[in-house]
Amino acid sequence: MSATLHSPQDRGGPAQPLLLLNGLKKHFPIRGGVFGATVATVRAVDGVSFAVRKGETLGIVGESGCGKSTTARLLMRLMDPDAGEMVFDGEGVGQASQTGGIPLKDYRRQVQMVFQDSYASLNPRLPIEDSIAFAPKVHGVPGPEARQRARELLAAVGLSPSQFARRYPHELSGGQRQRVNIARALALQPRLVLLDEPVSALDKSVEAQVLNLLMDLKEKFGLTYVFISHDLNVVQYISDRVLVMYLGQVAEQGPVDAIYERPAHPYTQALLASRPSMDPTRRRTEPPLTGDPPNPINPPSGCRFRTRCPFAEAVCAERAPIAADLGGGHEAACHMAAPGSGHSKAGRLAA
């Protein structure tokens, strides 16, 4: 492949998480009044900690306003977190390499992103081949070589280079454009690819094609994925581990089978029960939850889910739950899952 763009090396070994987030926070001030004083704060991401292991697909699910997309932008460092640290393969992100860190430019080369809107994320004035070759050129790869590599990538995502290389984004269908976006994300030979709702805007038959492609590419290039989606079925299909977010915090995380078969957090249970049944003879009669997710400007005290939770008790308003370990990497931030929390159902659930 390329001489100038060497393939990044694994440094920490297979057991070292590829990316570690610790207590990440991002608050957006809302300014108002005559002098533009801060009148309120949107707590978009409020103390999120998780790890992405090497070679896995981590699915992130949640409703609108839960902070999934802000988390993605923080992971990509498209914005800086207000607090918290990020460690990429043992090296602090954004710190000087002399102190054991990884500079942002190197970090971004190894972490790439695919967005939901396949049209808005491509430059309409560049042929797709040039869009794909753009980033390698920025990183010092000579032009002809970068274009050659772009054509190889187009072939890898199932678009014949001779037919498509010189086309512009508006000449492609939505599924084809999303393939181009995937090819562009792979152009820098990243280790971690962030997929923010990559198939949500696609039709079902095209969605299946793109999901198959993502699985193939992962195997071929040895990638690690963070897959953000609101579609629980797609997340179940593609993920190894799943993270459920609610109002800027992690409600539950664990292996995909544990989350889908033994959900411990009442929010996860409700979310799973909200899926249409696909079987007209077993229609739901009562909605699992009432109301909309609250506004992240003024999140409820204690547990943020308590306003919609059917099991809420006094303790839920007093203290925020701490993630309780349920074994096998399965954690739920709910008082009912933590023995001795003071919730009347706590003991029984933990046993």
């Binding site: 409703e63 609108s64 269908s173 599924g175 039709d203 079902k204 038959s205 095209v206 969605e207 299946a208 094609q209 999901l211 198959n212 699985m215 609101h230 579609d231 629980l232 079925n233 797609v234 179940q236 299909y237 995909v256 889908y260 409700a270 979310l271 909200s274 899926r275 249409p276 049944s277 696909m278 079987d279 007209p280 003879t281 229609r283 739901r284 009669t285 009562e286 909605p287 699992p288 939850l289 009432t290 109301g291 909309d292 997710p293």
Partner: protein, 335 residues
């Protein structure tokens, strides 16, 4: 809520069907090109029935629905017979259409923020519809608006009458739009992907509400969606559209269990649901045809694994292997 719920017992249940569409074609003609959006659609809807039109983007599902209300732009050339509640929609004048829309037929949309007027309160918008169609005083219309907000289960309805659309959450806005649509007790409700933009936990609430209201008010509903799961939750019958044609139609249970036509079969296989982990997804190769030229024969033939020469030789007549099921496919046994 008494008044809204007390519907005069509809005597038409046994009489005329609510919708009759026969050989409906819609073409969009501009100077540069012609797009054949709908190519010969036949649909029937009985009173009190829920029909889902299922299809991918560009299949003509929304255009078919808009044709029912004559909501298409002037570039659209509509032909064929369209009757709603026994009246010929294609022949209606502007004034007749204004009376017809809102009272006999109402429509709800995917995006309530653009469907509702941002500068009027929710209560005012409901009352306006009521006053337009029924000669009621403003106070009586507002009272009706309050009843309707309670009907669509908006909490603290009295306070919400004074709310502007931007002050409501997505789920409440969608409920408010449903309240506007139901203001004059329409016989037919047209719903164009009303839950697509909603979160999972809110989507199921709105679906269940629509189903409950449909049963209470005895409305006929045409529900356009691309989501098989949503169709499974709400439909009595499903019509699957592809490239401007209905390729299969039948009761929801039978159709989702055992589709006859290869397109819905492929669609069902490509839809990710639980228990498919680790398996490779079956896909439908290729993409839907361009509708600038009218496809000859079966429009799905270029993507179909079972296609033979007869499929593209001429139009495929509908076949009925079982009395209430229809599929346009040569491989379905004709009866």
């Amino acid at each position: 809520m008494s008044e809204v719920l007390e519907r005069p017992v509809v005597s038409s249940t046994s009489a005329s069907p609510l919708i009759t569409m026969r050989d409906v074609h819609v073409r969009f003609v501009t100077r540069d090109r012609t797009v054949h959006a709908v190519n010969g659609v036949d649909l029937d809807l009985a009173a009190g029935e829920v029909l889902c039109i299922l299809g991918e983007s560009g299949s003509g599902k929304s255009v078919t629905m808009r044709a029912l209300m004559k909501l298409l732009p002037r570039t659209a050339k509509v032909s064929g017979r369209i009757e709603v509640a026994g009246r010929d929609v294609t022949a209606m004048s502007g004034g007749e259409l204004q009376d017809f829309r809102g009272s006999d037929v109402a429509m709800i949309f995917q995006e309530p923020m653009t469907a509702l007027d941002p500068v009027f309160t929710i209560g005012r918008q409901i009352a306006e519809t009521v006053q337009r169609h029924e000669r009621l005083s403003r106070a009586a219309a507002m009272a009706r608006a309050l009843e309707l907000l309670e009907l669509v289960q908006i909490p603290s309805a009295k306070r919400r009458l004074e709310a502007y659309p931007h002050e409501l959450s997505g789920g409440l806005r969608q409920r408010a739009m449903i309240a506007v649509a139901l203001a004059c007790k329409p016989k037919l409700l047209l719903a164009d992907e009303p839950t697509t933009a909603l979160d999972a936990t809110v989507q199921i609430q709105v679906l269940l509400l629509l189903r409950k209201l449909q049963e209470q008010l005895g409305m006929g509903v045409v529900f356009v969606t691309h989501d098989l799961g949503v169709a499974g939750e709400i439909a009595d019958r499903v019509a699957v559209m592809y490239a401007g044609r209905v390729v299969e139609e039948g009761p929801v249970g039978a159709l989702m269990k055992e589709p006859l036509h290869p397109y819905p079969r492929g669609l069902l296989g490509a839809t990710v649901h639980g228990g498919m982990r680790g398996q490779r997804l079956t896909t439908i190769p290729g993409a839907p045809p361009s509708l600038e030229t009218l496809p000859v024969g079966c429009p799905f033939a270029p993507r179909c694994t079972e296609a033979e020469e007869a499929c593209i030789a001429g139009d495929i007549a509908p076949r009925h292997p079982v009395p209430d099921r229809m599929a346009r496919c040569l491989h379905v046994a004709a009866r």
